[in-house]
Symmetry: C2
Subunit: 601 residues, 2 copies
């Protein structure tokens, strides 16, 4: 029953990231994703934000942890710029709380959370999300988290400690009494810093002793926690069981009426969406989710499934529960997260998969399919999915800069200045070789131009000879940040191997290629191919894992698009190398509080 | 509480598919997938099969529809050989019922179902699955289905008609009375043919009027139906709602105690696994699922999630429900279906995704992770997943034929004769160029050699020049089924475009390339890349869609593996072309009942 109005869109005006001159070659300062045309729908019905209480009992808060839990999944490392882009998109989606990262993990993580708190947490918009930072139950972590989020209009610290016997025994090596004492004192410590919005999670709650759970939760409520999050850390529970757990906590925890209960469900048995909904039905009013359901192992409950289930059936079956999410931004959020995390969604993924709205195409449409609801319960438009060929503007090789700008705006991208110029040059080259420029072609091109890290190395030329008859040989020409040209050649086991070895001769950063994949989603053999690679630097980009406490060596993804698969492969590799090198470029805060780039490479 | 024993494996000894001489070049007659080493675990606890009744009230039948519902998803078309391979693997998994296809859809579908009924439905094994064919509620469909499945030891006909108001009005254009009459008379007709195992589904049951549902179900029970399947066709229900639907049907349908109730849940809201389990808890004792959850739109409940949830929690939470599935065959079934359907699973797919058992790798393992159950509720071994580097044999360039055979056996592939010879030649070439041959490399190679359609065209050589500096040019040499060589060259927008155009000049089959993708899962730049393409022939391979009744033009996937991405791309394209051409090679039955190949191309 949410009432919606259309208002003029006020774009976010973030403080641009300062960068070296060469960086302007490709990275952009003026990108704003948006849903066509120039309007944003905002829910009028979002109740006032009070940390420990929601004025409307039917309103469910959506807590997105794509940037924390999602980003710590293997290979999903994102740069600060990428995290900022996603945080802006999450704000546009209408997410209530953004968990922006784990600030104690590394300096880069800290910087990203602080920047998101400053920019997205203070945007001039009718809806400003809470910015949350994760911290283990120790003073250093909590200090770092507070330092990172305190610049936000609505900052939150989320602290956690394991409460299941197996975790307390083998991971923490602490007694239950020690765990309670730690939890209570650290929640109080977070409050003492001036943070009046503190979330506490008993890790592995699904396998914790009930009595112990009620006790520790009661203690942290006393100590000042405002949200209690109940994680099914190993994705082990069934829906009725998880719903019962929430109901039991609600019934038995002293002081529970003074806080908001939250769910956090992993997907190991494929039940995370159902468990999350069961939690909401049992009284949880904050749901922790990620875009596309990404996360470690089998991931988390996915935002799009939980939100669309509530939207489609909440009124009828779930006591009228509703969220503040503007679902028309789901598709763009999904694509952006897929692009930046490198975690592809399967074609049959619910809501956002490529086939979710597709039927095997028929020769004899008999009119029945025109009555779409025979097989379609959600219209694609509801999640902001524009079907190819449904949008009005068709581009060809004679199309001008203005038509290109109008078309990409229709597809949800707002690009200007040098970015548009660069895109237009690429577009004209493609248009000269390809009869029809599809929407997918354009999205691939925009992704290649816009979803790129700061440029350190740039591909100028590549030339390759290969095949079954001889040795593959590649020659590459790169320019560095100062505009100097470097040329190298190498032989290899195939054209990509040869080209990558030639790049290595120039760039000289020791990395391991972990994954390599390519996609051409557009019809026809002369499609634009998008390559994605995942690399890990040797002895670089260390960070602390939130749950295990281990030091991890992060991996970086890169993408490249071209009609020539060898060129797109080299672009992707250089993109990943730039991301890895760029990750070292820490943002440091000077005394004046302004961010500046420090190039440590 | 299933009791399991290890018995000597008795391999299936199928009647080999007759083929033209050239076909022997690559396709195999002797492939048997199996889990290492030479043992198969069979459940002793599977109750006797009686169509309308299960002697043990806790036993749940698993009905796999990968080959019917899964195969009709966009681009997932499989050849008869591929369907037979999957049916054999499903039998090994211990699936109770295999829905082998929709025989009235096309002659090729009919042939595949009949062959599966003959071979897998009569295998010399302790467990022989029921073979089921789908039919709409009309005599022609039912005749075709019976003709196709009657050769099986335990044949079943599955007939369906829509019962929701929206479907009856817009799709069937029939009154409720007409629908009841049709359902009753067609179930009776199926029984009259001599089929004593008839399943009936009221399509879109989730949105059907309850009273009408009880009435039509009661009528078909009277007419002789033995299983009643309740589909949530549009994936619209929530778990409690679907469980209630099953409970209501169980409570209100006259004669329901004489049949088995079944679930069939689509995944549009991401709830199919939870809905299926809720159905079982409410009394359903047959669950319809697909491997990897494939199917139209967001797919179906996935076998691996439903089965592992029942295995992990059924004893404790679901009244002791259990299945007859040997879970150690899940991984191989998943890989095979991914390979043949072309539908990739996402890295965070529950149970079978690449990350399902992976953690971001740490530098300082502190021993905690060695206590695996802190984060792992299922051991990879339980689903037959051998972690790389855990198996004993390490291959290098000096390894011989015997070591290769032993290693691939360990990985679950049982290959002999010419297939092994061909694989060994490929292996030695790779081993000469690559220091370490990983398990993934080997699996990619086996897939390339073994998961291939009958060979019509074969790639001999390809040579390419490309890059940013000039026009891409490719030369290819192919041999046809008679061993004649053909050479052509072409320019293109990239190396793949050029090579595909050169292939087109030789093969002369007009096709559209729908999708193109590539993966290299092995570590290091010199990995083996696997390319997958999806093509659609113009005016070829027509079939009838089961639910919509439309004529669809099928698409075909092909894969190729090589260290050179251009070579792997060409191999994949030729593989898809061979599959498309091979699909026309219908199997026709002579009067003697033996199958023979008719080449109609």
């Amino acid at each position: 029953m949410a009432v919606s109005v259309y208002i003029s869109r006020r774009p976010f005006t973030p403080q641009p990231l300062p960068r070296r001159p060469a960086a302007a070659l490709c990275a952009s300062t003026s990108i704003n994703f948006r849903h066509a045309p120039s309007l944003v729908r905002c829910s009028l019905h979002r109740p006032e934000y009070i940390p420990s209480h929601i004025p409307d009992p039917r309103y469910v808060r959506i807590f997105d942890t794509t940037l924390r839990d999602g980003e710590q999944s293997p290979g999903a490392t994102m740069t600060t710029k990428e995290k900022l882009d996603i945080a802006r998109q999450l704000a546009r989606l209408g997410v209530d709380i953004i968990e922006a990262g784990f600030p104690a993990s590394s300096d880069a993580d800290f910087d990203a959370v602080r920047l998101i708190a400053q920019e997205v947490g203070n945007a001039e918009c009718d809806h400003v999300p809470v910015i949350c930072g994760l911290a283990r139950c120790n003073k250093r972590d909590i200090d770092r988290a507070w330092e990172a989020v305190k610049g936000a209009n609505k900052p939150r610290i989320h602290t956690f400690i394991a409460t299941s016997e197996i975790h307390m025994t083998y991971k923490l090596k602490m007694s239950p009494e020690q765990v309670i004492d730690k939890a209570r004192s650290m929640v109080a410590y977070a409050r003492s810093l001036g943070c009046d919005d503190v979330e506490f999670s008993p890790e592995d709650a699904g396998r914790s002793d009930r009595g112990f759970l009620y006790q520790i939760l009661g203690e942290v409520i006393n100590a000042g926690a405002t949200t209690l999050n109940i994680p099914d850390t190993v994705g082990y529970t069934l829906p009725n069981e998880f719903g019962q757990l929430i109901a039991d906590i609600k019934a038995n925890t002293p002081g529970i009426e003074n806080v908001v209960i939250s769910t956090h469900c992993q997907n190991d048995l494929g039940l995370s969406t159902a468990n999350t909904l069961a939690g909401a039905q049992a009284g949880a009013r904050q749901l922790e989710v990620t875009i596309n359901g990404i996360g470690e192992r089998a991931g988390n409950a996915s935002l799009e499934e939980v939100v669309m289930a509530l939207k489609c059936r909440g009124g009828q079956l779930l006591d009228g529960l509703y969220t503040g999410i503007n679902t028309q931004h789901i598709t763009m959020a999904s694509k952006m997260v897929e692009e930046y995390s490198g975690l592809r969604v399967q074609p049959h993924k619910a809501i956002v998969g490529a086939n979710a709205f597709a039927h095997e195409s028929g020769i004899h449409q008999d009119g029945m399919l025109k009555h779409k609801t025979t097989y379609e319960i959600i219209s694609p438009e509801e999640i902001g999915l524009l079907r190819s060929n449904e949008s009005g503007i068709v581009l060809g090789k004679l199309s001008g800069r203005h038509a290109l700008k109008a078309k990409i705006l229709e597809l949800g991208f707002d690009i200007d200045g040098k970015d548009l110029d660069d895109l237009f040059v690429r577009f004209k080259t493609i248009a000269g070789n390809k009869k029809i420029i599809t929407d997918d072609d354009l999205i691939a091109l925009v992704a290649d131009e816009v979803f790129q890290p700061l440029v350190v190395w740039k591909l100028e030329d590549v030339q390759v000879t290969c095949g079954t008859l001889g040795l593959s040989t590649a020659t590459v020409k790169l320019t560095d940040a100062n505009g100097n040209e470097h040329i190298a050649c190498s032989v290899g086991t195939g054209p990509v191997d040869a080209a990558y070895k030639a790049v290595d001769l120039i760039v000289k950063v020791p990395v391991t290629l972990l994954e390599y994949s390519m996609n051409a989603v557009t019809e026809g053999i002369d499609a634009i191919a998008t390559t994605r690679v995942l690399i890990r630097g040797e002895n670089s980009a260390e960070a602390t894992h939130a749950l295990t406490g281990e030091t991890i060596n992060r991996a970086f993804s890169g993408t490249g698009a071209a009609m020539d698969i060898v060129i797109s492969s080299v672009r992707a590799y250089i993109g990943a190398l730039n991301k890895l090198v760029g990750f070292w470029d820490r943002l440091e805060t000077s005394n004046s509080g302004e961010a500046k780039v420090l190039h440590t490479a």
